[in-house]
Amino acid sequence: MKVEQGLLYMESHEWARLEGDEAVVGISDFAQEELNDVVYVELPEVGDVLAHGEVFGTVESVKAASDVYLPLSGEIIAVNTDLEDSPQLVNESPYGNGWFVRIRVANPSEAKDLLSADGYAKFLAEEAEKGGH
């Protein structure tokens, strides 16, 4: 299981990659592994303006459906339409071709509330330990 460096994470397992005043958003390797085979991804519409922490889509696997939350407030400027026909990209490449949306970041200061890669890895380790008890 991989936690990609250089990304910002949420405890609900979404990541954001800052690129200037834009950000790309997806779900982590841990999340895709927990979900198992992704069969459908419901994405927002380009132009939707959503707040930090708001639900922006849903991931369906064979036996589960999970909401996904936006790490940073902003306007949706692109969605990954490849996921319509190839939802398995989320499993194959969670940090690459399996990205969900691209946003124009409304409030860059929100980034400080997100976890670094190391912080997220530590969070996952703690959770695993809790689960072990």
């Binding site: 069969v39 459908y40 419901e42 519409e45 849903t58 369906e60 696997s61 064979v62 036996k63 589960a64 459906a65 909401d67």
Partner: protein, 446 residues
């Protein structure tokens, strides 16, 4: 957790919380003499005596074995070939329950898959679910789906005044928490062009029934394009028997096709159980409610059937499911499938043709009775409207004495149509029965 009944202390705490002194206080709204009425029951009977008594009671019903029926209005009397009951009564099939465990339900799942496939062929659509409770709930689910397709952004539903009145009522009840605006059915003058002019950028769907509640066929040419140009969906409610003869709604560009599946081999049974069929386009399947059976292969490449796209449903998606109902009318859907398979494409077309010709003969014959006037102007399928010289309820009371169940009293739903009877004639009516009905109408009215 153990199943412990409430203790006295629990009861005392609960009664204190809701502010009552004793349990009887909860029932104070029920008049005292009705709470424990004295039951004046007769002496017990033997099984043989009881059967005789119950049979005598049941024979007081005006059932279709002893009465001719010219009543339709949503539930239709069609001939059911013996093979239908023979097959669905097999113990392997005889459960009303929707399957959860694919591994042990292959036969049931295959039956549902074939039902879905035939509904798709009949409606001209890509995908059909395993059925809803009835036509009314299928319409209501279509509205919920259209709302979800618009991502809950659109609030308006435009509905024809000639969608079945009970379907409109059910849709309003079903969707009351969604804060929708349902318009179009406030006036019988709202014909299809008028309804189309109400479809705007806030409209999630237009709902049209064909043949409509008055039996008339609606002209769907160009309707889908007009609806789609506003970004809305076209929902068509259809009589499945009529689809054996007329162009399927899918070919007119409908996005959702629903209807009452009872005419497909299911008896009227004093009003149910029934089934609602529901079909849509493939690109909308993730927004569809209901169970869906798909065909797949197992690890060894053998054909098998499974519940498909279950993540739409309530047991997985909880409050965000496409519907709160994730069940189906499995036995009724199977019955419909066996009926369609038994008749085949040509048989279904023949049934539809007979309905068309017999109802037109009936209209022609009734139109010649003095004082009666056939009001239906447009093309109709198996029902038509007759203006009567006396109240319809009086006519129907008189007809019962002739051994006839008369038509539907349209004044019940449409004040404009007081003294208007909706008459239905299907393939089960003989020419002699139609003549007898016309004679009875003339005598009873005179």
């Amino acid at each position: 957790m153990p199943y412990v009944p409430h203790s006295d202390a629990d009861r005392a705490a609960m009664m204190k919380a809701v502010g009552i002194q004793k349990m009887d206080d909860l029932f104070q709204d029920v008049p005292a003499h009705l709470r424990y009425p004295k039951m004046d029951l007769p002496e017990p009977l033997s099984e043989m005596e009881l059967m005789a008594e119950l049979t005598a009671m049941s024979e007081r019903n005006a059932d279709l074995k002893h009465f001719m029926c010219f009543l339709g209005a949503g539930a239709y009397c069609h001939y059911i070939p013996s093979v239908v009951d023979q097959i669905v009564s097999r113990s392997e099939f005889y459960t009303a329950y929707t399957p959860y465990q694919a591994e042990i339900s292959q036969g049931t799942l295959q039956g549902i898959f074939e039902y879905q496939s035939m509904i798709c062929a009949l409606t001209g659509m890509d995908v059909a679910n395993a059925s809803h409770y009835d036509g009314a709930t299928a319409v209501a689910e279509a509205v919920v789906m259209a709302h979800n397709v618009s991502r809950k952004k659109r609030r308006k539903v435009v509905v024809s005044p000639f969608l079945h009145p009970e379907y409109r009522a059910t849709t309003r009840t079903y969707t009351q928490g969604l804060e929708l605006t349902i318009v179009g059915d406030e006036s019988v003058r709202n014909d299809l062009p008028a309804l189309l002019s109400m479809v705007d950028e806030d409209t999630m769907c237009l709902i049209v029934q064909t043949p409509n509640f008055l039996g008339e066929l609606e002209d769907l040419r160009g309707v889908a394009d007009r609806v789609h140009s506003k970004g809305a969906l076209l929902v068509v409610v259809a009589d499945p028997i009529s689809l054996g003869l007329f162009q399927p709604p899918g070919e007119h560009g409908a996005d959702i096709v629903v209807g009452e599946g009872q005419p497909l081999g299911n008896a009227i049974n004093f009003g149910g159980p029934s089934l609602g069929f529901f079909a849509t386009r493939e690109n909308l399947v993730h927004k569809m409610a209901g169970r869906l059976v798909g065909q797949t292969v197992d690890a060894e490449g053998r054909r098998g059937f499974v519940l498909t796209l279950s993540a739409r449903e309530q047991h997985i998606r909880r409050e965000k499911a496409t519907s709160n109902i994730c069940s189906n009318e499995a036995l009724n859907a199977l019955t419909a499938a066996v009926y369609m398979a038994a008749l085949g494409k040509c048989g279904l077309r023949r049934v539809a043709e007979l309905c068309y010709h017999k109802s037109h003969y009936a209209a022609h014959r009734i139109g010649r009775i003095p004082g009666f006037q056939v009001m239906t102007q447009k093309s109709f399928f198996k029902e038509f409207v007759v203006k009567c010289p006396v109240p319809v309820s009086d006519l129907n009371d008189g007809l019962l004495e002739w051994g006839i169940i008369g038509g539907y009293d349209l004044g019940r739903d449409y004040p404009e149509f007081t003294n208007h009877m909706l008459v239905c004639a299907t393939e089960t009516c003989t020419r002699e029965e139609i003549e007898y009905f016309a004679e009875a109408l003339q005598e009873v009215a005179g």
